[in-house]
Amino acid sequence: MLSLKIAVRFLRSGKTQTTLIVLGMAIAVSIQVFVGLLLDSLQKSLVDETIGNSPQVTITSATDIGTIRDWGTMVETIEQLGYAKALSVEASATAFVRNGNADLPVLVRGFNFENADEIYDISGRIYEGRPQESRREVLVGRDLREELETDVGDRLAVFSPDGSVTIFTVSGFYDLGVASINKTWIITDLRTAQQIFGFDRRITSIEMTVEDVFQADVIAHRIEQALYNEDITVENWKEQNEDLLSALNGQQTSSTVIQVVIILSVVIAIASVLAISVLQKSRQIGILKAMGIKDLSASLIFIYQGFLIGLVGSAAGITLGLGLLYAFNTFTANPDGTALINLYVEYDFILRSWVVAVLAATLAGLIPARKSLRLNPIDVIREG
């Protein structure tokens, strides 16, 4: 512990130098934490907005009929695998609704509402009316409503491709935030959709969300293997969003590069300051060696200095970085007061940054530590 004690005294004796290097480290780490968390939040926001309320793995029929028959056992198998966060089966088919003299194409989607709600958050997006309660009720999207000029409680005639007509009552209106969906989806329950399209008990797809969205491809592959059925196709969001993925990867890489460069610059700065400190303290190290301090203990003084600078500097840097992040979020808020970016403070990332910064600073101490090994007490004594 003598080495640690000496390291502390050396740092305290050069207050200005120590303050400057700790400050330098704090600023560097704060930028690293700020950039890292900001880009991470951006990425999460983007992913959340793009795929947050949509299925991330979808199983559809690969046959010409376009429907899946023994879906009950498939659902059981998938649930046993344990990958699905939410799972919903649906029966969907295109149909028409009449608007004056024109026929508008629609997609009738039949869900078990509670299951689908876990994926699409439909109930949270109904802006007028209520979810359908009986089998003859439907939900209509905002854009289709505007086109049809319909209201809650109005009748809606839906024409199936085979020419049959089903009359529904509009129970409410939703807005899923995507115009093409709002214009085409008519949401009803599973049984009704199966009935009007003559699917019997069959469905058209199984949709699910997963815990780790970036593992969707791996999970999809495992599900495909587990189901082992040539009549189905298992797709995942990554296949369908390659552009988004490559943008996210680019962002991740640039974030990593920025962070690595920052940490490298910190290491070099600390190493150079401590290397100067070896020169400044060569007299002290020389006399300590004359008194019998061993090379390892003498070297440890500089490694401890690096460690202490890292410990304090990175703790201050993390605090500063979080402060910067909250300040950024406050000053860049949208006019309605909502945040420009939803912040996700990853404590794992902060802890990792702290450990890496402390380790890097300690490693930086190795350079002056090696330099101190070459310090011979006789040189100090001869020079007076």
């Binding site: 512990m1 003598l2 000496i6 005294r9 050396f10 305290r12 004796s13 007299r283 002290q284 020389g286 006399i287 300590l288 060696k289 004359a290 008194m291 019998g292 301090i293 061993k294 090379d295 390892l296 203990s297 007490p377 006789i378 100090v380 004594i381 007076g384």
Partner: protein, 228 residues
């Protein structure tokens, strides 16, 4: 009485563009508890001799034995430990660590090889401060003392581990005559009280006259060795 320091056929040559030999075939030994001076002109090789005895420098040829340990074959860390346990240094400059107080400086050689500053060692340090007449400044930072107080603190530091040998290289070179006299009186007192061997390098013959043995070096060779 046993030899605490023994040199056999010691040569020292500094390697460089031109090799410079500064010591030639030195054969010298000092009894345990002796009080001796090594005198000589500047550049005679007396400090080099002292540094070799102190294991800070290495002989180019010959054998050096300190307290029964032949130093030629010891590793760096073993030499460091030997210095710590056996030798106390007093230099012309005090070389106190300015980052520490006088007391902490004195305890430093003890702390280097031991984990704690137990009560008994602090008591010993207090005793040395008393003996050296610097108790009132023991908690001063090392750079907030007079030159005489700093040198006395350096002496206390040299003595804290109860070394067998104290090597003093021009220990009063920077002090006034009053402080000089006090320090030699203290050296003598410690020598008599604890039986510590003293080897004092000086160019001042008057100081040397006060010791029990004078070894004079000229051009790297012993030319006079007088025991009183």
């Amino acid at each position: 009485m046993a030899n605490v320091v023994e040199l056999r056929d010691v040569d020292k040559t500094y390697r460089g563009v031109v090799d410079t030999q500064v010591l030639f075939g030195i054969n010298l030994s000092f009894d345990e508890g002796s009080f001796s001076a090594i005198v000589g002109e500047s550049g005679s090789g007396k400090s080099t001799l002292l540094n070799i005895i102190g294991t800070l420098d290495k002989a180019t040829k010959g054998e050096v034995s300190i307290a029964g340990n032949t130093t030629n074959y010891l590793r760096k860390d073993q030499l460091a430990e030997l210095r710590n346990r056996t030798i106390g240094f007093v230099f012309q400059f005090h070389y106190l660590l300015p980052e520490f107080t006088a007391l902490e400086n004195v305890l430093m050689p003890h702390l280097i090889n031991r984990k704690d500053s137990a009560g008994s060692i602090v008591e010993r340090a207090d005793g040395l401060f008393d003996m050296l007449g610097i108790s009132r400044v023991k908690n001063n930072p090392a750079n907030k003392m007079s030159g005489g107080e700093q040198q006395r603190t350096a002496i206390a530091r040299a003595l804290i581990n109860n070394p067998k040998v104290v090597l003093a290289d021009e220990p009063t070179g920077n002090l006034d005559s009053e402080n000089t006299a006090t320090i030699y009186r203290i050296f003598r007192e410690i020598n008599q009280k604890y039986g510590t061997t003293f080897l004092i390098v000086t160019h001042d013959r008057r100081i040397a006259e006060e010791t029990d043995r004078i070894v004079e070096i000229k051009d790297g060779r012993i030319i006079v060795d007088i025991k009183k």
